[in-house]
Amino acid sequence: MRYVYFPGCSLETVAKSYDVSARLTAEKLGVELTELEDWNCCGATAYFHIDEILAHTLCARNLAMAEKTGLDVVAPCSACYKNMGETNAHLKQDAELRDHINIALKEDGLEFSGQQRVLHLVDVFTEDVGIENIRKNVVNSLKGLHVAPYYGCQILRPKMGRENIENPEFLEDLISATGAEAVDYPLKTECCGGSLIMTKNPVALKMIKNLLACAADKGADLIVTTCPLCQVNLECYQKQVNRKYGTEFSLPVLYITQVLGFALGIPKDDLLIGSELSSPAGLLTRFSREAV
């Protein structure tokens, strides 16, 4: 199983632990990730506020470079995944747009022809590796741990070929494979506020509060995410939420790859568990077979 890996900007900084844990967990499961050479920003949401064709051009450059490897592209960030997936679909369908952007890409010696698929890293685990394979390789069973799967938005929407976007269960499958119990809570696909945390802070804080309250109410010990912005919003703003709403949330928020990697026996320090503002390390220690 070989893929070309597009980490995205956040995974170089604020979500370094996602990048590190993604690579280690993939390796452990026999997935070979080769980082895309000289990749650029996917444009996030902001680019679409300024110019749509420019936004697609950014993604098209990455896709054209990825095409040279002959491998499918894997993105761990839901926003990168959504942007690249959308550009891939638009450019495949619309020859005029493709030609327009290809003229620009020639300046960098590139051409988009649309030969590959864009996958979320989670898809690689659930579909290509398979849940059973993961279950077989678990050495630290997380039995007794209550993990809330947080999907957020852009791994699901707009509809990117997934069958069930209103009540998906693939994260629950991954959580169950580790031995942990997946917490069933109704807001698992609701929005964390995204970049509104910066541009419309009160709106995002309310969304974050609702999500934390819902997961905590259903007994979650920790939340797992598949997107750096979701992780930052849910984790780093708990203090502000607590002050504003008089709550006392102290809920660890980890990347799915950190929880998977830990269950597969990768030491927690290697997975950068502990780089959170409120560390869940103590919570996990009791599940470890070996000293971690």
Binding site: V14, H49, D94, C191, K200, L277
Partner: protein, 187 residues
């Protein structure tokens, strides 16, 4: 004299590079508003915005808070029974509003998006600390202290880079973007 197109027509044509995605098929059912996680903060709900566009009430739409409350969660888009891409419509309205320099006073969104794009055009990558000035001082003293504390905590955990990164073939990268927007990108 040629006639100006209606606001509805303008917005429909701005919606998506792929297709016009017309909004005249909207049945005003309100599924979008019922699905929107930010609706309680909007002065007009998404359904109401469509009604205003169809009534050619351009100023009401552009001066509203609604378009800057959209977080691109796509709940409305996947549930609309008429398959209107409402999130794309919000993007189109943001673009229109930024082009015309017409938006509600104090909106942070336009400055944030412009700064983000300038940054990516320059380096090829986004850099969180570079965005801070656009919102840092906009939530009062308390907000500023909160943001500074958070920045420090993340820095201590090595989660903030001191310097922005740049793509390696930056000259080629800028030439690519220059082809799309023939002026305005620094060499």
């Amino acid at each position: 004299m040629t006639e100006r197109p209606s606001f509805q027509k303008e917005v429909s044509n701005l919606m998506s590079v792929l297709d016009g995605n017309p909004i005249d098929v909207c049945i005003q059912c309100g599924t979008c508003s019922g699905s929107c996680p930010a609706v309680e903060y909007m002065d007009y709900s998404p359904r109401h915005i469509i009604a205003l566009i169809r009534s050619d009430l351009k100023d009401e739409v552009l001066n509203s808070d609604t378009i800057w409350c959209c977080s691109s969660c796509y709940n409305c888009t996947v549930r609309c029974p008429k398959e209107i891409k409402i999130t794309e419509m919000m993007y189109a309205l943001k673009r229109y509003s930024i082009w015309k320099h017409q938006y509600r006073e104090g909106a942070i969104g336009p400055a944030f998006s412009r700064k983000f794009v300038r940054m990516v055009v320059k380096t090829g990558k986004s850099y969180e600390p570079g965005l801070a000035p656009t919102f840092m001082f906009r939530y009062g003293m308390r907000g500023m202290i909160d943001n500074m504390q958070l920045g420090m905590s993340l820095f201590n955990k090595k989660r903030i880079a001191i310097l922005p990164k740049t793509v390696k073939r930056i000259k080629n990268f800028r030439r690519v973007l220059n082809r799309i927007i023939p002026i305005g990108v620094e060499k």
